[in-house]
């Protein structure tokens, strides 16, 4: 372990280029219970959540559950809901995606099937044509008879607000409504939204992790009891364990680096990680910093840095500490994985787009592509979410394309960290601010700004027809910052076009 680790430096590295996103999580269940089924037949109630669970999976579940240093799990009714049909779909996708791509240069191919100009490839055109027969939204924004190739840019962009107000129209007609699962987005750029997902979609996302392992020359090894750990460092979040059918029932755990949630303390957490020996760790940069602070003795094959942008400084520190690649990973709840940091040791922080089933554009405010080299909004069409087909969806993140190459994102400007100070000088995380505001009111966009004199201004654009009680919001903010904070609350008109940056701190 690195005895000279300095958390101050880590915090600087994080705040240098990260943004805390909010995670609205309510703890529905508390206390430790054991989800591991008894020996013998697997109960039907568990098979409903986990249709392909076998005795092998149970063995792995038991290994996790019976470890003497487990954290205090708070979510027990989890499963991957993956069926044999989903496995077939994953295998087909895996074959197309992994085997058809030349990997000699460790990058995705840059051939003429990929977008080299501003119009989508045939695969995406077909996807949109297909969705036009299934989704009211697609029919509404694409006039009858439109030549998609030549009139692509006249198609109305889909915004976050549309997911909030028109989800029923966007969701395509399918047969398996009972297989819909629902996530809240983190609400980085506004109020959290409900995003429908499909178990198959989540299963397909595993293939992207496999691909990046391959790109980095790492083996595909899920033999350890706990093959993958998702690490968080939050006030409050779900923590649970599971096995993934799509990864041969490899063990998985989501844990939170909050000391009170580890009955045997930080020492216990260290033993849990050491014995688990995860092959993959996924974590946001704040959590990666916390992993170093906790001095977790793990040597995974890779760490995927998700949710926030990973700064070069933190990446270097973490790679040295954990002796493995720490890979910037760009993904949203709405889209799934969009891009990853390629293995090219370049000083330019490009992100390689998963162009296999996504068409990414960089657009100006009017919906036209910006010239190469100019920063614009990352906009996505396609994807693999069976319940949420995306058509020119504005992600709220910004980047540019380098000249003639539309397979890499450059100058990525999304998701930067913002740290605030309470009246007692303690740090207030934007994660907590976002959750607090959402608990107090319903809104489309917000901005929380703290000036150098520590006074704060909260600006909210409510949903049409929703009244906001400023006093309720004010009292919630006082709980975070203390009652002595100088706070001004401003409510915008619902039809205001003013674009709000969610978090600003001077």
């Amino acid at each position: 372990m690195n005895d000279k680790f300095d958390m101050t430096e880590t915090l600087e590295a994080i705040t240098d280029n990260q943004e805390n996103i909010d995670k609205s999580v309510q703890q529905h269940v508390s206390g430790n219970r054991n989800i591991v089924p008894p020996n013998g037949d697997i109960p039907q109630s568990i098979l409903e959540r986990h249709p392909l669970l076998t005795q092998k999976g149970i063995v792995n579940l038991k290994k996790i559950a019976n470890h003497p240093d487990t954290p205090q799990w708070n979510y027990f009714t989890i499963g991957d809901k993956v069926t044999n049909g989903d496995i077939e779909a994953v295998n087909k996708f895996r074959k197309e995606f992994l085997n058809d791509l030349p990997l000699s240069n460790n990058t995705l191919p840059s051939n003429n099937t990929l977008p080299s100009n501003n119009t989508p490839p045939l695969k995406i055109i077909r996807f949109v044509e297909n969705m036009r027969t299934k989704s009211s939204w697609f029919r509404e924004v694409i006039p009858e008879g439109t030549d998609l190739k030549s009139n692509w840019h006249s198609i109305q962009t889909m915004k976050r607000k549309d997911l909030l107000t028109s989800m029923t129209e966007i969701i395509p007609v399918r047969e398996d409504y009972d297989r819909m699962i629902v996530y809240d987005t983190s609400g980085t750029t506004g109020h959290s939204i409900i995003v429908p997902h499909h178990p198959q979609t989540l299963a397909l996302n595993h293939v992207f992790a496999e691909f990046v392992l391959k790109v980095y020359g790492k083996p595909f090894d899920f033999s350890s009891p706990l093959a993958c750990i998702n690490v968080c460092a939050q006030q409050n979040t779900y923590v649970f364990y599971n096995v993934f059918s799509v990864w041969n029932e490899a063990g998985f755990a989501k844990v939170n680096l909050k000391e009170s949630q580890w009955p045997t303390g930080i020492e216990g957490a260290r033993r849990f990680f050491k014995d688990g020996a995860p092959h993959i760790i996924t974590a946001d940069p704040v959590s990666i910093g916390e992993m170093m602070k906790w001095e977790l003795p793990v040597r995974p094959a890779v760490i995927f840095s998700t949710a926030l942008t990973l700064s070069k400084k933190l990446k270097t520190m973490a790679e040295e500490y954990f002796q493995c690649p720490v890979i910037n990973w760009y993904s949203t709840t709405e889209t799934g994985p969009i891009a990853f940091e390629p293995n090219n040791n370049s000083n330019v922080a490009d992100l390689q787009i998963f162009t296999h089933d996504l068409f990414v554009e960089i657009l100006d405010e009017h919906g036209f592509p910006v010239p190469d080299g100019t920063v614009g909004e990352i906009t996505v069409t396609g994807g693999r979410n069976l319940w949420l087909p995306l058509l020119r969806y504005r992600t709220g993140d910004f980047a540019s394309f380098s000249a003639g190459d539309h397979t890499c994102l450059r100058d990525f400007q999304g998701r930067k960290p913002v740290i605030f100070r309470a009246t007692d000088n303690s740090i207030v995380n934007s994660v907590d601010i976002g959750r607090t505001i959402r608990l107090a009111c319903t809104f489309v966009e917000h901005q929380f700004k703290q000036y150098a004199d520590e006074s704060c201004v909260l600006t909210i654009r409510p949903l049409p027809g929703i009244n906001i009680n400023s006093e309720v919001v004010r009292n919630r903010i006082y709980e975070l910052f203390g009652e002595k904070i100088n706070l001004t609350i401003s409510i915008l008109d619902t039809d205001s076009d003013k674009k709000l940056i969610p978090y600003i701190s001077e």
Binding site: T77, G79, D80, P143, N151, T168, S186, H206, F244
Partner: protein, 192 residues
């Protein structure tokens, strides 16, 4: 003067010069200055230049307005038919049609359809006839109204939206979203 048959006008639409179907000028994008074409069409009838607000209207910067502006160009070509040029139709009425009358159509029908599709050509011609109160020889007003209704893209869209299948889909989606929001979600290996 006897009104020529509908087919004369629909044929006129098929003879539209390519330039009318090129991309409208929007900011730094496109080629055809729609406001100039509209100004040219209306100057003879209104004897005045296009106002600043109308200029802005026909220079809409949003990419999503491209189809609307292309429809305006197609209409301008139609209004340039010699029969329509010879008669002293109300320029303000035409301006109002170009500004507001195409709003819904632009969301439903690609401008090119007013050239390439038989029914859409006839629909546009009949809409213009209705606007200018032109009666087709041998057709009663009721017959003209019925024919337009049969071709009406807006009405067709309204019917599609309210089919039983669509209503049933909306109900199932709402029920699934509500039910699943309260239920447990499947686990994923990372957070976004």
């Amino acid at each position: 003067m006897k009104t020529p048959p509908i087919e004369v006008f629909t044929r006129h639409l098929t003879q539209i010069p390519d330039v009318f179907l090129q991309s409208p000028l929007q900011g730094g994008h496109g080629k055809v200055a729609v406001w100039a074409v509209v100004a040219d069409l209306l100057f003879d009838k209104r004897k005045k230049l296009l106002s600043e607000s109308n200029y802005k209207h026909f220079s809409k910067p949003g990419a999503r307005d491209k189809n609307y502006l292309k429809q305006v160009l197609v209409c301008c070509w139609l209004f340039h038919h010699p029969y329509l040029q010879q008669h002293d139709f109300d320029g303000n009425k035409i301006l109002s049609f170009l500004k507001d009358g195409l709003k819904k159509l632009a969301k439903l029908v690609a401008a090119e359809q007013f050239v390439s599709d038989t029914d859409r050509r006839e629909e546009l011609v009949r809409l213009v006839f209705k606007l200018l109160e032109i009666t087709v020889d041998g057709e009663t007003p009721q017959q003209a109204e019925d024919r337009l209704k049969a071709l009406d893209s807006v009405e067709r869209d309204r019917i599609i939206r309210h089919t039983k299948k669509q209503r049933e889909h909306a109900r199932k989606v709402k029920a699934a979203l509500e039910a699943q929001r309260a239920a447990e979600a499947a686990s994923r290996y990372s957070r976004e």
